[in-house]
Amino acid sequence: MSAAPQRAKAGAEKIEVIVSAVLPLNDLVTRFEFKRKDGNRFPTFSAGAHTVVHMRDGDRQRLNPYSLMSDPADTETYAISVRRDDEGRGGSLFMHNNVKVGDAMEITYPVNLFSLDLRAKKHVFLAGGIGITPFMAMIAQLERSSDPWELHYSVRTEALGTYVDQLVSKYPNKVRIYYDDQSQSINLENLLDGQPLGTNVYVCGPKGMIDWVHKTAAAAGWPDANVHSEEFTAPQPGKEFQVRLCRSEKTITVGENESLLEAMEREGVDAPFLCRGGACGQCETNVVSSDGEFIHRDHWLEPDEHGNKIMPCVSRFIGKSLEIDR
């Protein structure tokens, strides 16, 4: 029997779930746990995978990707930890304010764009803030296989140190916490120097942190293949624009607070997607014609593709006319 779900529609296949726990962890972060509605077990996932949570917010459908942070071997429960973003587009606020224990929701099968390289001799994790979530699953996986790892975790304050107590008490010799408000910071050059051959480093956090790690490692002679990062970009609001979908024979308007992908979905166009954060490449769409300027926000397209392709999940357009092959 094949474990892979058959793709009937865009996006990964969905699983109907019931919210089994809502646990506020601190002022900003709440943990949500899900069980399957049909009582079956979830598929196992590989650490680093995310799920896209479908939220029904009135007439509006919100789809946000969150890293699965529960133990990958636990097929009874999936857990995510959501940081409330008061300035964001509202998905995390909806989770915090509206989602209650017992609610029925839909989440997608796990998709992994940030997997462990299991050939590594050692794994070094660098987390910034809510970037801790994929590492919670990775640590659980590596503890089971007894592979060496260490975590360097930068948080703003003690009060906002999500999972700090748990990590420090369980793994006192493998975890180091850095508090911004005490002017502590990761001494990256020093940390990278002297790591055994075959060490892989993983970074999840703000964009600046990710760029800093890639740059510092490259300068120290680390191969690109040994440096892994994950950054989900939330679609940014922008000016309303019109787009012609030539295959669907529709002209639609993308509103100020929605992405091109969301606008297509609202109009009933079945557009492909997986991560909804500009990282996976699934929604890549050819541009048929354009008169104006693209605002590319993805991490997928090469600069020389910027004139003839667009990633509808995060990128926008300003100008007279845009026609895409969808």
């Binding site: 050939r119 120097d193 790591q195 051959l197 075959g198 490259a218 120290a220 002679g221 191969p223 293949a225």
Partner: protein, 200 residues
């Protein structure tokens, strides 16, 4: 000139480049025969590398060792064969850290075996630089008896272990660091095409 332009082939066949100086904490250079010329060229590009370089050289009959000594690498070793140097290479890799750059140059057999040692030590093959110099002879595995024949110069050739007549394929194994040799007269024993020098 010791450089040879290999014709395009199947995806499995290794492709070699030109060594370039890269940022790193330590530079491990493993070469045989005319591979020494590529290291001398690297020294011309960036003489500063040598202060942090360890050169492991197997002359294979060439007399370039003295010139390698003269560029004053931090460490220099010369050995009679790859096998003789293998335990040293493993020991060096064991004690190495991230930030080590690897430069392999010379014959395909040398580069393949050194690359395998580096990969086993945890370096991704995509991060290992190679430059072919000198002989185009190949290290071949007999797919029938699994024996390795070094420095094969003709196609077909006789397996040095089981004696079968083997056809030289471009099908390469990084794990074995060898090309695959397949019996050429299995269906019609004795009907063996004339030996031709590789790439002639």
């Amino acid at each position: 000139m010791s450089k040879f332009q290999f014709p395009e082939s199947i995806k499995s066949r290794p492709v070699y480049g030109t060594l370039e100086a890269r940022p790193g904490k330590y530079h491990l250079m493993i070469a045989d025969a005319e591979g020494a010329e590529a290291i001398l060229h690297l020294h011309e590009q960036d003489a500063g590398l040598m202060a942090k370089a360890h050169i492991i050289y197997i002359p294979k009959g060439s007399n370039l060792g003295e010139r390698l000594r003269a560029i004053r690498p931090a460490q220099y070793y010369e050995g009679p064969t790859y096998e003789a140097a293998a335990s040293r290479i493993e020991r060096v890799l064991e004690a190495s850290h991230m930030g080590t750059q690897i430069y392999l140059t010379g014959t395909e057999g040398l580069m393949g075996q050194a690359m395998r040692a580096c990969m086993n030590a945890g370096i991704p093959h995509t991060a290992i630089q190679t430059e072919h110099r000198g002989s185009v002879a190949r290290r071949m595995q007999c797919v029938h008896c699994k024996g390795i024949t070094e420095d094969v110069e003709t196609d077909p050739f006789e397996c040095s272990h089981c004696g079968l007549n083997l056809f030289v394929r471009d099908h390469y194994s990084r794990r074995l660091a060898a090309f695959q040799g397949v019996c050429i007269d299995a269906e019609d024993p004795g009907n063996v095409p004339e030996k031709v020098e590789l790439y002639k």
